[in-house]
Symmetry: C2
Subunit: 406 residues, 2 copies
């Protein structure tokens, strides 16, 4: 294949709808990634670093594994795009059998909708007049956009805005799990759901509940116990609504750490897995159902290539990839092939690697491949990721919702 053919194919494959967005960018793949197309075919070891890479074989395996594991349980998959922020990957998730996707924020939802993802459930709430108006405009254009609400005033505001937009907006109620977002369970939750159900310009679809604190509990048994206990008040709210005759077609929540636990929750419809695609060091250390030492249901597919730029100090290597490449999350990134090295990305521009039980000696210019500490915020630092197959760049995946935290 000639370079120009590669380039043409790339531009066709990644062309995105250019509709204007309140927050911009209506990024065209042509503008942003043209220059990096010349990297297609290169070895990942030859990329200018820091370079965000996803191993496509591993990611595709993860993509299937979650569906295989949940087959026959009655629980579906509604992947959370806050992890990858990449419409091209969202399309793979839909093709693999996802019932739709979740998005954290309105601007993130918009990037997905504008780029051809039809069913987007926004898990965060919109509380300002500006965002609510914009959400209703989006719903008017994209029928598969579902919004969350977690307080009565907000439900009234959504009703008013939907009416003003001349639509019936699809709504789920977010239930409190970890005292962060969500309406109080029990009677307050039921009343909010009933209000939404009766509001002429809102349609109630069910509930949402995210047990963020449970996802990283170490040890499957402890995690299972905590997850099910934490969800008891949520299940109670769900059952009150069901008894009241409300539409409970959606009972969504959970994540990569509890995807195989939520199947035990009565009425639960779908898990909001995100990290399962990429994995990261934070998830690897929590332990899985079948492997207490390492959570290995999914393979770590996401890495950052980092280059050694200085080896003149005893006991350490300095790299070109610091907090702006890997974030400050802990546990630190994990170097493939050097399990005991400690990769400290605490400095903005530089990584500092403590040499412990080395398998070889490294020179300035050599590269480390680093499993990321926490995938979501690392992805949010890059404009694109390199899709790697057999060690070579197969394609470039634009992270079009990067920075879309509004």
């Amino acid at each position: 294949m000639s370079d120009s053919l590669n380039r043409r194919k790339f531009l066709q494959a990644t062309a995105v709808a250019g509709a204007a967005s309140l927050w911009s960018p209506s990024l065209s793949a042509e503008t942003l990634y043209e220059a990096n197309v010349s990297d297609i075919g290169k070895s990942k070891w030859d990329l200018d670093s820091p370079a965000l890479c996803v191993d496509l074989d591993k990611m595709e395996k993860n993509l299937k594994a979650v569906h295989t594991a949940l087959k026959g349980t009655g629980v579906g998959v509604r992947p959370h795009v806050k992890t990858h922020k990449c419409p091209a990957i969202a399309k793979m998730q839909i093709a693999a059998g996802a019932v739709g996707v979740c998005a954290a924020k309105l601007s993130e939802s918009e990037v997905m909708l504008v780029n051809g993802i039809q069913n987007v459930l926004m898990t965060g709430v919109n509380v300002t007049a500006s965002k609510i108006k914009h959400a209703m405009e989006l719903r008017k254009k994209y029928k598969g956009f579902i919004q969350a609400v977690d307080n009565m005033q907000n439900a009234r505001d959504l009703q008013d805005a939907a009416k003003a937009a001349g639509i019936v907006a699809d709504v789920v109620v977010d239930l409190d799990v970890i005292k962060r977002s969500g309406v109080r369970n029990g009677q307050p939750a039921l009343e909010l759901a009933q209000f939404v159900d009766k509001a002429p310009n809102l349609k109630f679809h069910g509930v949402l509940a995210y047990d963020g604190a449970v996802q990283h509990v170490e040890g499957f048994k402890a995690r299972r116990e905590q997850a099910l206990k934490t969800f008891e008040p949520v299940v109670n709210s769900y059952e009150l609504m069901k008894k009241a005759g409300l539409n409970t077609e959606i009972f969504s929540g959970g994540g990569t750490g509890t995807y195989d636990i939520m199947t035990e929750v009565p009425g639960f419809t779908d898990v909001q897995v995100g990290s399962y695609l990429f994995m990261d060091h934070q998830y690897m250390v929590i332990g899985g159902k079948n492997n207490e030492k390492e959570f290995d249901d999914f393979a770590p597919s996401l890495t950052v290539m980092a280059t050694i730029i200085n080896n003149s100090n005893e006991g350490k290597y300095v790299t070109d990839s610091g907090a702006k490449a890997l974030t400050l999350n802990v546990p630190h990134g994990k170097i493939i092939g050097e399990p005991d090295f400690d990769y400290n990305a605490g400095s903005d521009e530089y990584g500092s690697v403590k040499i412990i039980n080395p398998n070889k000696k490294y020179n300035v210019g050599d590269k480390f491949e680093v499993i990321v500490p926490h995938c979501d915020p690392v992805v949010n630092l890059y404009d694109f990721m390199y899709g790697i197959r057999n060690g070579k760049v197969e394609k470039i995946l634009p992270i079009l919702a990067r920075g879309k935290s509004q």
Copy 2:
């Protein structure tokens, strides 16, 4: 002024050169920021959050203050663009009297050069064949591009690449201060400088030394002592080179925490201040020469607007601005007007604010204005910042080198 006039003026003001870059993007302001032009004229309190804002009056005051303070000391200002990543701001720094700018990485340097900044000193080293080749191509095109080197093999590689490119490349030697980057001081430093000086395709300009660990030492006296002590071996290297008859026209280093201390270093030519423009909570707490409690030589101009999305839990507010908006840096962000509140951005999508000694009650939808924990990595999360004057958006400042960590 009509909206369309604003928009036209904005497009004229922010138009950037669209030359292709190895890492892309050749972002055109038109493509990226058109949609946000409609925010010009809005109150900062009405912006969709998280929104990165810079108070222009404060930033302009800071821009002047560093020059005023250093007037007559013989020490110049070579601001580090890793802090703002914004060519428009680099131009303001040059206009205010900077001798040029520093950039941390090659891709960051390129964005500055391509967008009209003539004198760029890259403080990091390029050690791979790909980056060295690209650096020489840049130097061929932009005469004011200066590169750093910190080991002999790298100097040989630069010489070979400069020769292959048919140029004489301008080089400074990076000296070790905190065992991160830099050649060992004394004889090794001298030998490296002499090698560069004799290399037919390299021109030696002097030295560079960054005392990163000293910048945030609390208390001016302690900071001054440590800074001067840490710099002793650096000064020794500089004097060896001077004695050897080498060109020592550049002796660059320091930062916002030591800008008023480096004036005591013999031979020192310019400070690489970055944070002075924006300030942040990390710098505010170190104390200044004239105010031990707060480092207030410069005013905190950079803030993130965050919206309260949930107030249903006692003792805290939940906002829409977490680690993807403010990073995990400590000390936490500081809410203007609520000095005792603790803003924890530890969660990716949500901020959690502990209510301590409140001055008022806040409702869902109200906004906090948050002084950022650490300016550099926060800026690196946003595609643009809002330039605010008297509380209103005056202009949009594209952060064109965002994510340029290569």
